[in-house]
């Protein structure tokens, strides 16, 4: 055993140290792969974990909710219908639950909870910071106050009235709030300060009556939570007579019984559900987004795997002679195998551990980026902090080690297959590769074919499983074809380069061809890294161009008006009909499309119902329809009918086509909408249904608006109209009015926010690609020293050798770049047309970011040359005699 360890020390450690640059690059590659995967997974799990945690904290002990079925809220009088629950000893309490935003930039999104503070403590945990100490001091304050009051009454008996101190009732004053400690910290709030909130088109000052401790409810929504008494919340949110839901604590064994009795006794406008349902809904919405991210992050790990394979293969090739000697001296096959695996394990271990440290570190940035996307696409949720789940760490470590072992397996097997006698003949492996290459290529073709078949499969339970399978098959399939292609290509290139650059060029190509095995590995690992970079670049730019074109085409209004509350992400923000009618009268305005948007549920899934003024939309609007019909034609079919148009993602999600009829629920009962058109929309993943405004008013009895699209008369200055609108509305109205150009910029900004995590992955992919190039080239050139020694022996000059190495590096860089480009294109096709389409339901026009591709091509090329420089310098110093002796 000790012999084995001493052998490993001399064989493995010395090797690793001697080739420290290459070892370092390999370790970095694995570390980066593990780190990216871990960061993404931690961010995903945290985003979801924080969300469910918040939902749990807000739900508290409630086991059933009475929620509105097709409105935003329910009538408070439903509570009075529940008095039979007293005799069943079941507690219930009203809840108001709404998202509001801080008026101060950066406009923190705040969850506002209106609770009956007299019964809410039975339902959920919360406390003010330093809670119980307050109780005593406040109690004492009161008693001294009361005595003061008593004497006051005694002095002024004529008043005949008694003043009493508010004490614990402070919170029941108008607009008083308890603020989550994190929010208080960020907004720098103390008791007695005001937190200004945007509510609809108003800015309201809410005096802070207390700071919630960071336990219990104060922890929900990353502390971005504001608590009020229900009566104050109703007034603040203009929800007189309305509540968001009723929470009930029903023992688990009575859930069915009580649930069905509730359903029977309550009107059809409400439904009874478990509190976990909302969490599950959000989880379902986020799932495809998160799986996609995880899958993308796996590519980074895949590159790490190729790096290990690369390193190990070269290590085996370089040591054939040593292996042969060891075997001749009696080392068994398992010992040799273990030695190589041991080397891989050391690399994998260090890399994975570094990766875990890096992953945990990067997770917070990933979470911030993921949260931006989640916020833009699905739900308002402040990022919160990363939950470091040991299971995920273990999983990432396991993945790193597992892939390392898999990658090292083949080279290690190759090592033990060397018969002692043959070991001295270095070329045998390369010859084997050469003879195997046609079969490998055939195998690669089969994989590619399978990939193609997978790419045309439909989504599996809403997740593009086959799309990802196709991507993986494309990568492995192409990698398998590399030796065959290189065999043919390098022969060709040797002639070509010989003719153009001279003998160095020819020799460079031939020497790469001579070491076909390692060349293939190097090119393949380079290719995978580059393909990840290319595919992400193509996907992002295609997406952005599509959205830009859509924005250009669709957003035609001269001015765009929203209440301040809504604009900064409170989707509940509304404009009253009075304000809208004031705005309509502002001179210079041709017409106004007052649009209202309403979150609904369609077949158990969240969606958006919008209503617009069709006459204005017919005249000015320019939606793009999937079938190419002009906007006005489709919309004139909708006007005046029980009809509507739906967005592409809604159409895909619910499998609805033109001519189909869909049924929606409303307070006035169910009603039907005939689908007259399917239009492109990139603003919502859950999708839109748009119906005529008058139909909406009829079904929902809601005359408020969420956004106004304002069309001006010809030659009117938008800036002047903007000022006139501000002058026309009440002074305390907080409106955001954007010009057409500002809105377009805004939309693209939102788009960029949505894609921030993808941008981050893209940046990482560039780093991974460069790392791959450096590792592959550095290793390869180092291993070419023998050839270089011979050349030198044969009379090559220093300059010639240097040139040869650089040409070799450039050649590898170019080949890898080309391969990466090809696979990258295939992958981006899969991402855009299969994976994204199946996940989100958006049609994205393919767009090639030529400038980026050229730049990255150049960057990789330069990196290749640079990675060749150090080995070239070494090559020049190679003592020819030493190398040749071993031949």
């Amino acid at each position: 055993m000790s012999a084995f360890f001493s052998l490993s020390r001399t064989f493995i450690l010395r090797g690793l140290i001697r080739n420290r640059v290459r070892s370092l690059l390999t370790i970095l590659g694995i570390a980066l792969g593990v780190a990216v995967m871990l960061a993404i997974n931690l961010a995903n799990a945290s985003a979801l974990g924080r969300f469910s945690e918040s939902i749990d904290l807000v739900s508290g002990k409630a086991t059933l909710n009475v929620v509105p079925r097709f409105e935003a809220d329910i009538d408070e009088n439903e509570l009075a219908k529940l008095s039979w629950l007293y005799d069943e000893f079941i507690k219930f309490t009203p809840v108001i639950d709404q998202v509001v935003v801080s008026a101060k930039p950066p406009h923190e999104v705040v969850q506002l909870l209106g609770l009956d503070l007299f019964s809410s403590k039975e339902f959920r945990e919360y406390d003010t910071a330093g809670g119980n100490n307050f109780a005593t001091s406040s109690g004492e304050n009161n008693s001294s106050k009361n005595q003061a009051n008593d004497s006051l009454s005694a002095d002024d008996p004529a008043a005949g009235a008694v003043n009493s101190s508010p004490g614990p009732f402070e919170i029941f004053r108008r607009n008083r709030i308890l603020v989550g400690s994190e929010l208080a910290k960020r907004e720098n709030l103390k008791v007695g300060d005001n937190l200004n909130l945007f509510l609809n088109d108003k800015e309201v000052s809410c005096p802070v009556a207390g700071i919630l401790s960071s336990e219990g409810l104060g922890k929900a929504f990353a502390g971005n939570v504001v608590l009020m008494d229900i009566s104050c919340a109703q007034e603040l949110l203009s929800m007189k007579g309305r509540i968001s839901r009723i929470d009930l604590i029903v023992p688990s064994e009575r859930l069915t019984e009580i649930g069905s009795r509730l359903s029977k006794e309550l009107p059809p406008s409400v439904s009874v559900e478990r509190p976990s349902r909302r969490g599950m809904q959000v989880e379902k919405m986020l799932r495809s987004f998160q799986y996609n991210l995880t899958a993308l992050s796996l590519i980074a790990l895949l590159v790490g795997m190729f790096l290990i394979y690369n390193t190990m293969s070269i290590s085996v090739i370089r040591r054939r002679w040593e292996i042969g000697t060891m075997r001749a001296l009696g080392a068994s096959m398992p010992i040799v195998f273990s030695l190589f695996m041991g080397e891989a394990i050391i690399l994998g271990l260090i890399g994975s551990l570094l990766g875990i440290a890096g992953g945990v570190f990067f997770a917070q940035f990933a979470l911030a980026a993921v949260s931006k996307t989640v916020r833009a696409l699905y739900a308002d949720q402040p990022p919160g902090s990363v939950i470091v789940d040991p299971m995920i760490l273990l999983l990432a470590f396991g993945a790193g080690m597992f892939l390392t072992l898999i990658a090292a397996w083949a080279p290690s097997m190759e090592a033990i297959s060397i018969p002692p006698a043959e070991a001295a003949r270095r070329a045998s492996y390369e010859r084997k590769v050469e003879s195997l290459s046609p079969r490998l290529a055939l195998f690669g073709c089969v994989l590619l074919l399978c990939g193609f078949v997978a790419s045309i499969q439909p989504a599996l339970a809403g997740f593009p499983f086959f799309g990802y399978l196709a991507a993986a098959l494309a990568v492995f399939g192409s990698a398998a074809m590399i030796p065959f292609l290189l065999d043919k290509l390098l022969r060709l290139l040797s002639r070509l380069l010989g003719a153009t650059i001279g003998s160095e060029g020819r020799l460079a190509a031939l020497s790469l061809h001579g070491a076909l095995g390692r060349t293939s590995v190097a090119v393949a690992s380079l290719m995978v890294g580059i393909s990840m970079m290319v595919s992400l670049a193509v996907m992002i730019s295609s997406f952005r161009h599509t959205v830009e074109a859509w924005v250009q085409q669709t957003l035609r209004a001269d001015l765009w008006l929203e209440p301040a509350g809504r604009d900064v992400s409170n989707r509940a923000g509304r404009l009253t009909a009075e304000i809208v009618s004031k705005i309509r009268k502002v001179p210079g305005i041709d017409s106004v499309d007052a649009f209202v948007e309403y979150p609904i549920e369609y077949q158990g899934q969240p969606a958006n119902l919008g209503a617009g003024e069709l006459d204005v939309m017919v005249k000015h609007g320019n939606l793009m329809f999937l079938n190419g019909e002009p906007s006005a034609k489709v919309l004139s079919r909708v006007a005046g009918h029980d009809a509507g148009i739906i967005s592409e993602s809604f159409s895909l999600k619910h499998d609805l086509k033109i001519g189909d009829t869909l049924t929606l629920q409303s307070p006035g009962g169910p009603y039907q909408i005939k689908v007259e058109g399917v239009y492109y929309d990139y603003s919502s993943e859950s999708g839109y249904i748009v119906i005529p405004r008058e139909n909406f008013a009829r079904h929902y009895n809601d005359l408020n608006s969420t956004t106004l699209a304002i069309f001006l008369l010809p030659n009117v200055d938008p800036e002047k109209v903007r000022q006139d609108i501000f002058a026309a509305v009440p002074k305390d109205s907080r409106l955001n009015i954007r010009t057409n150009r500002e809105l377009k910029t805004q939309v693209l900004k939102i788009f960029d926010n949505t894609f921030s995590i993808t941008y981050a992955l893209h940046a990482i992919s560039i780093a991974v690609a460069i790392l791959g190039v450096m590792n592959a080239l550095f290793a390869l050139t180092m291993e070419s020293r023998r050839d270089l020694g011979i050349f030198k022996y044969l009379g090559a000059s220093k300059e010639q050798l240097g040139k040869l190495v650089i040409v070799q590096a450039g050649l590898l860089g170019t080949l890898g770049n080309l391969g990466g480009l090809a696979i990258g294109m295939a992958l981006s096709f899969l991402l855009i047309h299969v994976i994204n389409k199946q996940s989100f339901g958006w049609t994205v026009q393919f767009f090639l970011p030529l400038d980026f591709l050229l730049q990255s091509f150049a960057l990789i090329f330069v990196c290749s040359i640079l990675s060749g420089l150090l080995p070239a310098r070494l090559a020049e110093k190679t003592p020819a005699a030493e190398v040749v002796r071993s031949e």
Binding site: S83, A154, S164, P168, I230, Q234
Partner: protein, 403 residues
């Protein structure tokens, strides 16, 4: 000194005249103040507490002033202009098979002192309601109790000022305007009562000039009256068992606007019904220094409803036989020797069950002992028996700490 209230109670709806007597003004301490403290402390424990802030116009409440003219039944109704009000029923019941029971059902209303809350709507916060329900199963040696609290949102609790109706969730006390009977109904997980009570004697008004004075300042008082002997019948359930019961109840109703002084640690309150037809309310307010507050007082109600005020010097109460509560650790006396020389009364009061403590389930809440007791003794040398309810606060540690 014994002050005799010379109020006459005419028929319903008319107004009794109230004599002004300045000299009797002092030292008529409210038994009732106890419950104010109780309510206030419980509020403190339930709410999130916030230090008082900058002065804002506060809600004004009416002070309890001498010369108050009682109207019945209107004075049974809620008096929202006063800050604090409660309706308190205790009673002894007996089933057809002679099983003895005791019950307590009380409702508290406390006006919210802020004036800039939200007006209107189902959740308008004008009052906070609290209620206690307790049942003593003497033969089974079981004591059941529960507490409730509510803001009264969306009809969950309330006290009408148009009729006598006060309720908190599924507990209620009301008065049938036709028969004049009080209807009590309460139901907890363990037990329930449904009782119908006759008003019995005319209301006994405590204190002088319609006020029960608590301190020398004007308005530091409350309005306090009792129905001391209300024939009761109805049914009660314990678990699956249902009993038809009869017995006698005692109702207290008190409303005022001032709070209790800080140097009081608790009180012992007695409501005694004797089999010669007379009733008596006595209480002792215990001070921090171990003495009794000189405002402690009582009322003797003759069989014909005639009322006599008792000062602290008119009666003497010696307690013995401490019971230690396993729930709160508080030590309560459960045996009392009461003497009222002016009435030639010498009574021994014994708890029917030691453990009749309403131990608050909430750790920060207030616990007190309120229980059914038997009375045995002599009046003018003659044997007399009776029943009582005794309330003791401030014996459990939690209460002391809170005070």
């Amino acid at each position: 000194m014994i002050a005799t209230n010379n109020f006459a109670f005419p028929a319903e709806g008319t107004t009794p005249s109230v004599a002004r007597n300045e000299s009797n003004f002092k030292s008529n301490m409210l038994a009732a103040q106890k419950r104010l403290v109780l309510i206030f402390c419980v509020f403190l424990s339930f709410l999130i507490l916030i230090p008082a802030q900058a002065a804002t116009p506060e809600r004004k409440f009416k002070a309890a002033l001498p010369g108050y003219r009682y109207h019945f039944p209107a004075d049974h109704f809620s008096h929202d202009e006063f800050k604090t009000e409660w309706w308190y029923y205790t009673g002894h019941l007996e089933s057809a098979d002679k099983k003895p029971f005791g019950y307590e059902l009380t409702f508290f209303r406390s006006g919210v002192p802020i004036s800039d809350g939200v007006n209107g709507g189902a959740f308008e916060l004008r009052n906070v309601y609290m209620a206690h329900f307790a049942l003593t199963d003497v033969s089974a040696k079981k004591f059941y109790h529960e507490e409730k609290m509510s803001r009264g949102g969306a009809g969950a609790a309330g006290a009408s000022d148009k009729e006598y109706k006060v309720w908190l969730e599924n507990w209620s006390a009301s008065r049938d305007p036709k028969s004049g009977k009080h209807i009590l109904s309460a139901r907890s997980k363990d037990c329930s009562i449904k009782l119908s009570l006759d008003e019995g004697k005319v209301p006994a008004i405590h204190g002088n000039q319609g006020v029960s004075q608590k301190a020398s300042c004007v308005g530091c008082a409350s309005h306090y009256y009792s129905h001391t002997r209300m024939p009761a019948e109805g049914e009660l359930t314990i678990g699956d068992k249902k009993y038809n019961v009869r017995g006698s109840s005692w109702m207290d109703h008190e409303f005022g606007s001032n709070q209790l002084a800080a140097n009081q640690v608790g009180w012992d309150w007695f409501s005694i019904q004797l089999d010669d037809g007379s009733d008596m309310m006595l209480y002792l307010m215990r001070l921090k220094d171990g003495t009794y507050d000189p405002h402690s007082s009582g009322t003797f109600v003759a069989a014909d409803g005639g009322v006599q005020h008792l000062q602290l010097s008119d009666y003497k109460i010696e307690s013995s036989q401490k019971w230690k509560s396993p729930h709160t650790g508080g030590q309560y006396p459960t045996s009392f020797h009461v003497t009222v020389p002016s009435k030639q009364l010498d009574l021994q009061i014994e708890a029917l069950l030691q453990d009749q403590e309403l131990a608050s389930k909430d750790k920060t809440g207030i616990s007190y002992w309120e229980g059914a007791c038997r009375v045995k003794g002599k009046r003018a040398g003659a044997e007399v028996r009776g029943q009582a309810y005794v309330e003791m606060t401030g014996y459990s540690e939690a209460f002391n700490r809170k005070i």
